[in-house]
Amino acid sequence: MSNLDLRSILKCVRCGTCRSVCPIFEQTGWESASSRGRMLVAHGIYHGLEADQDVLNSLNTCTTCGLCEQMCPSGASPTQIVQNARHHLVLKGKMTDSQAALRDEATSKGNPLGETRYRHAWLKNASDIKEHAPYVFFVGCLGSYRYPELTRRTFDLLKKFDVTLIPEEVCCGSPLLRTGSDPDFLISKNLEQIKKIGAHTIITGCAGCYTTLRNDYPDGLKVLHVSEFLAERLSEMNLKRLDIKVTYHDPCHLGRCNGVFDAPRKIITSICELKEMKTHHQQSRCCGAGGGVLKGYPDLSLALSKKRLEEIPEGVDYLVTSCPLCRTNLQRGGPKVEVIDILDLLEMAMK
């Protein structure tokens, strides 16, 4: 029972505050799909509730967006408890097919996408990987394999500031952590190389990588999102003002969970006009992709994406975000405006 701490489960007073904000509950309407329900399920598991498919579905339909945790008056940590309960069951061999697939791919290939290609294939010039540097750019799996163009352009910009790459980067471990599997081998492989490089700061463009590097890697490393790194260097970038309006989607794991709200907005507002979405900052609605939900429950994930897209204000030209996973899922939802990365916006202003 190491991972399921009864006392932290019992912090929940079942007030239902979370039930009225959980986007997954809003979609299904069943208690087991609300965070209060998941807290009860965790409690049930502790007391021997059989971990059948319904229990797995209850626990695994949480996107770990953290909204419940933020609103919880009694200071319970439903998001953490969901992850602990998943881990507890995985240790007993109980998991969904999607959890198993994520774990197996990441274990055998170093990324949960099942890719066997060279991770830095997007890199034009291998000599850009330096042996030692104060900064490393942690690309992430989606950046490496799904958005190679964006990644190349991001790195072209970053490398001017003494930034290098991790030569044999592997998945940061986020998909495994969120879905209850053990990421230690991935973490050590990345860490060893970062140490060799001698970097004091890791820069990443993905919200999932960000929260993992910052909260699940050992202390002592500074972690910055690309937007934070560049927001401090805008004056060196010769930006021109664009006559457009954009809105911004706060990735849960960057904004609500880690408080990175200002840097992306600083970049945006120094380029063009920003019109906030209906919910933003701490209250921002989840895109629906996190916590393994996009892979495990694509329909549910799509429904959340559509709900989020309904919050785009009138009269904007782009929906800007700063996480490739959010971008992917928001794109799936059929947005009425183009979804772009914050880097894309920066580049438009640089040309």
Binding site: R7, L10, K11, T17, G44, D52, P73
Partner: protein
């Protein structure tokens, strides 16, 4: 008895996606925010009155108990199915059926959440006044069934004052309409009033005609600090006797003050022995007069007094106050708020005495008891936090709660001013109600002869 065939029959009525017998789901429907537990055999989410009626007819024919549930935020075990059977989750019947502002009313289904209703009314300049701490999550059905109320009840009354009529499915499945769209009607016994506060023991509410009020033009919040809760209690008695009717009058003791400051550090309440929060609403002139009168009346008793600077500060303090009860859990990582013995009410004059008694009980059992609540109508919430893993704490908690209940009754008060009897307080009904309980039992027998509706609740 429930069996596979009956479940199949009911599944056909509501559709397969609206019925669950999954053990995981049943477990999630086995409690509310109280300590009462009971696992249902099936959870059904009806979408219409006709479906409710069909289900109840089957239940009636086969002696299956039926427990209605709104959002499950109750604090008395009201929606917990003590004898298994069916839980009817009414939260999917959540439409606003009609907005009839010329008649100052709306017709709603019971599953609508209080805050959602008020958000829908706001653009038209109206509101539904009863505002429990659970406004963001509790349903109108739950509020009606419990006759819930909140911070504004000192001026605006309880849910009962806003229910003009109901559509109810009775124990045999018959659909009955009570009340009318008129503001007054004396035709017959007031069955609407009988249903309000009946906690799902007499019928299932499927629609309600709700009176709404115009949103007041202006409001202002006053913070008055006191050296101890008893002084605050005295100030309340004085203010209410002065002729002013505040739209809220809340007490916070020193622990609750700390809990609120921890939940939302922006608020930064002064660390006094107790704080009274008064709200006055109405026209600009009325508010000004009310504020002046309250400030004057509290002088001499209060150690400090000020008004909230703007709407933002007002909204923040009320939002935090709403969740203060649960936020007590934040004060100590080892302890959790347990809702037991939390809802007594006493005659207004007895407030200072009740506050003193609670303090004595706290000392006697060596258990911190945090007091907050709607002191303007004599309703005190006594919040206790315990180590959930300590048997000794549980014993102390239950003994202290019992003493609080009996003390309130002895003062001519009640064990529950707004949260409901459910099964958490049913054992006190004889003591509190005397032979009036026999009348209740007779009514229950007449309307639900087989005893299928929410069995084991309210002492009936």
């Amino acid at each position: 008895m429930l069996n596979v065939d009956l479940i199949e029959k009911m599944r056909k009525i509501v559709g397969k996606e609206n019925l669950s017998i999954s053990s995981c789901e049943l477990y999630c429907y086995s409690s509310d925010a109280s300590q009462i537990r009971g696992v249902p055999e099936v959870v059904i989410k009806p979408l219409s009155t006709a479906q409710v009626s069909e289900i109840i007819k089957i239940a009636y024919a086969h002696n299956i108990s039926v427990t209605a549930r709104g959002a499950g935020t109750g604090l008395s075990g009201g929606c917990v199915p003590l004898e298994g059977g069916i839980v009817l989750d009414m939260s999917a019947m959540n439409r606003i059926v009609e907005m009839d502002f010329d008649n100052l009313q709306v017709v709603v289904e019971p599953g609508i959440v209080q805050e959602k209703l008020n958000k829908a009314l706001e653009p038209y300049g109206f509101f539904f006044p009863p505002d429990p701490g659970s406004s963001a999550m509790c349903t109108l059905g739950g509020l009606i069934a419990n006759n819930g109320s909140g911070m504004r009840s000192v001026k605006y009354g309880t849910t009962r004052s806003y229910v003009l009529g109901l559509e109810v499915v009775m124990a045999d499945g018959e659909i009955v309409r009570t009340g009318s769209k008129t503001m007054k009607s004396v035709a017959g016994y007031s069955l609407t009033d009988l249903m309000v506060g009946s906690e799902g023991t007499l019928g299932i509410i499927t629609q309600a005609i709700i009176k709404v009020r115009a949103i007041p033009k202006d409001r202002s919040v006053i913070f008055a600090s006191f050296d101890n809760p008893e002084l605050a209690g005295k100030a309340v008695v004085k203010v209410l006797a002065s002729g002013i009717v505040p739209s809220a009058c809340e007490i916070l003791d020193s622990n609750i003050i700390r809990a609120i400051n921890t939940y939302d550090p922006k608020i930064g309440l002064p660390l006094a022995g107790a704080i009274l929060l008064f709200e006055v609403d109405g026209s600009e002139a009325e508010v000004k007069e009310g504020v002046n009168l309250i400030v004057k009346t509290c002088e001499g008793l209060a150690s400090g007094i000020r008004t909230a600077s703007d709407k933002k500060e007002r909204d923040e303090i009320w939002a935090a106050r709403r969740l203060a009860g649960a936020a007590i859990s934040r004060l100590d990582p080892m302890r959790t708020r347990v809702y037991v013995g939390e809802d007594v009410g006493v005659p207004i004059k007895e407030i200072p005495k009740m506050l003193r008694k609670v303090d004595e009980i706290s000392k006697e059992f060596n258990l911190p008891i945090m007091t907050y609540g709607h002191i303007g109508d004599g309703n005190l919430h006594t919040g206790m936090c315990i180590d959930m893993l300590s048997d000794e704490d549980w014993m102390k908690l239950n003994a202290a709660a019992d003493r609080i209940h009996r003390t309130a009754i002895a003062m001519g008060g009640t064990t529950t001013a707004e949260h409901g009897v459910g099964s958490a307080r049913s054992e006190y009904m004889r003591l509190e109600l005397g032979n009036a309980l026999d009348i209740m039992i007779a009514i229950k027998k007449a309307l639900d002869p087989k005893g299928i509706l929410n069995p084991g609740k309210m002492g009936v």
